[in-house]
């Protein structure tokens, strides 16, 4: 071991904080970039050279104001077209939390990018322009966030300054959206009236809307309770990598590396290894050179078993009385991402947890209109950016749960075997 750089081991205040990943959706017109710019500026997460570069570019384009969208639109093609195309990840921290923003485009032709950003989010932030009220776009964003089971949703009613901070307008949008949300799976909803430009209710409480008694956006982001979103009951440990040192010092060591996808694992626990169904007990759980007493999501650990059972990558460790049923018939919602449409009888590669197999499209049950929630059963294919309910048959059993129960063991990606490109994202309804 090299000499430590310092005798005392230290960390800054941010090291021990919680993390919140949230996804934003919207277009420049909704004021999304202004809002992100304000969150970054007010939390002092924009550096002078970044701001100067953006100011210089804005000036050279003849704008009257600094276009904060230039901060997030990182690719040349995006700056040229003035739109966000790809998902951009931004980072900021306040004394309470560290935040990762997945900034996604709002247009329907980039639905796949929004699905991507939402897949890892704890919270989704949808913006509406108070002057326009709910639009097809804002409804679509809420639908996608609920399909991806993002547990917390914030509807930010922006540009309140342009409607004289009218409570009546806010109430109307709030009521309309709450009614719409009852059709979706949204466990936690907050509707916040803001002005990103003027700063009302973003970080500081607005003096112009004393009729609003809820939290500011930042207060909500800092305090929304996300720890209980994880499943700490159903033990799911997909085996990722078998650790075998084959050295004199650790001659008999055999451990199973992986990230806990659900439940709490403890030494002494009885476990079952799937798909073989063999049972054993946890002999120990290692985190680098330390033995730990518990492992829970999303820790990456190495699990050792008491018996010398055959375990390899793609297997799953669960509890004998609480294990997923291995299944080759999968019923899932799929967001299709390729140019050529998804059709019945198509064969694809599927990656689910640490397991790779092939899948055959048995049936496309319906296509979901993400604007109206209408189920179109006539069209038997899914085009790019479309979402539908699909039946798959896989070459080997998957060890899965419904996506509504576990976002890790309930999700998969589809890969085109010829091009190697990721062409679909799946969320499992049922496996039989």
């Amino acid at each position: 071991m090299p000499a430590p750089t310092e005798a005392t081991v230290t960390e800054s205040l941010t090291a021990n904080m919680d993390m919140l990943r949230f996804a934003t959706a919207g277009s420049v017109d909704d004021g999304k970039s202004t809002l992100i710019g304000r969150l970054l500026l007010d939390s002092k997460s924009i550096f002078e050279d970044q701001l100067e570069a953006v100011e210089a570019t804005s000036a050279s384009k003849g704008y009257d104001y600094t276009d904060l969208a230039l901060l997030t639109d990182g690719l040349r093609s995006e700056r040229e077209q003035g739109i966000t195309i790809d998902v951009a990840y931004r980072y900021f921290a306040t004394p309470a939390r560290k935040f990762i923003i997945a900034d996604t485009p709002g247009h329907v032709q980039y639905t796949r990018n929004m699905v991507t950003g939402a897949s890892t989010a704890d919270l989704g932030l949808v913006l509406v322009d108070a002057r326009q009220g709910l639009t097809e776009q804002s409804r679509r964003h809420a639908v996608i966030l609920s399909l991806l089971r993002v547990p917390h949703l914030v509807l930010a009613v922006n540009k309140m300054d342009l409607v004289d901070y009218s409570q009546e307008i806010y109430d109307k949008i709030q009521a309309e959206f709450t009614t719409f949300a009852t059709k979706l799976n949204i466990p936690d909803l907050e509707v916040i009236p803001i002005s990103a430009l003027a700063g009302d209710n973003v970080v500081n409480r607005s003096e112009n809307m004393d009729w609003y008694s809820g939290p500011t956006l930042m207060h909500h982001l800092e305090n929304v309770h996300v720890a209980s979103d994880r499943d700490l009951v159903d033990v799911r440990f997909p085996v990722q990598y078998v650790v075998r040192p084959k050295s004199d010092e650790h001659h008999d060591y055999r451990g199973y590396g992986g990230m806990v996808a659900g439940g709490v694992l403890k030494p002494g626990d009885e476990v079952v290894v799937l798909p073989s169904g063999m049972t054993s007990k946890i002999a120990g759980i290692d985190l680098f050179d330390k033995e730990i007493t518990e492992a829970f999501p999303p820790m990456s650990v190495t699990v050792r078993l008491e018996d010398d059972v055959d375990v390899s990558r793609g297997d799953m460790i669960a509890r004998p009385a609480n294990a997923p049923k291995p299944s080759q018939d999968i019923d899932a919602m799929i967001c299709w991402m390729a140019d050529a449409p998804l059709k019945p009888r198509q064969k694809l590669a599927i990656k689910h947890t640490t397991r790779v197999a092939r899948a055959l499209v048995k049936d496309i049950q319906y296509r979901l209109d993400v604007n109206t929630l209408h189920r179109d059963q006539e069209t038997k294919e899914l085009g790019r950016n479309e979402i539908g309910r699909v039946q798959l048959r896989t070459t080997v059993p998957l060890l899965c749960d419904p996506y509504s129960k576990n976002r890790t063991t309930g999700s998969f990606i589809l890969i085109d075997e010829a091009t190697g490109i990721t062409v679909g994202a799946g969320m499992i309804n049922n496996a039989s």
Binding site: M17, S300, R313
Partner: protein
Amino acid sequence: MTQTHADYRLSQLDQLEAESIHIFREVAAEFEKPVLMFSGGKDSIVMLRLAEKAFYPAKIPFPVLQIDTGLDFPEVLVTRDNWVNRLGVKLVVASIDDAIANGVVVDDGKTSRNRMQTAVLLNAIEENGFTAAFGGGRRDEEKARAKERVYSHRDEFGQWDPKMQRPELWSLYNGRLHAGEHMRIFPISNWTELDVWDYIGREGIEIPPIYFSHQRRVFERDGMLMSETPLNPLRQGEVVEERTVRFRTCGDISLTGCVESTASTIPEIIAEVSIAKLTERGATRGDDRFSEAAMEDRKKEGYF
């Protein structure tokens, strides 16, 4: 006593560590011949530490690749050797001087060594048949990087096509390749500069001493403080003086500037980084200053 959910809390730094370890294991399991690109800088040291943890008590199951620009800080090479020896990993060095001698790259006197690195790196990847190369890039560093995937696909020419990136969902990574292609892997994509320092402090690991405050003979060029060295001859009007400085990044000695600083411990560096007004690359990296899309252009060609 029953434990409540709140007890099963993982700090953000622990979450980042868990995510990075997951990525290392995934790559080691799925790729035939991975390699870790090691510059000796703080980000690649954090990567090595994470790789050490991912496979412990086994050794890191892939080699480490360094591009010797001939313009590396000697202190950085010492730190590199200490790490490689302690972990017992294989070190592959690809040298720009050798590449020039062998005709792999042409030194036309105009191209910077930073630019030549790309050709030497791609050549080393091809010659060794590496299919995945870990890099220490972080998304908070630069806005083109903010859009790059953890698994970043490179074609047979080593090029990155930002418009053709594969969607990356949940923690399901797609490592499919055709012959001749390779994947760049960025396991610390979600870390910020502050996280890297926090982790170095928490782990108590060795980093090159040039990151800490020291006396150095420097001169000013393009608003940056550059090291006096025979590798970087003075231009007219440049005056050398001794200042108390430290480096925020470890690049090529002719392009990497230092900042005036008295921070000589990790907590002092963390305090300094917390209130810094310039990004680390904007402040001290000549290679990123050429244009707004300097990084995007170099990345497309196959840069780190």
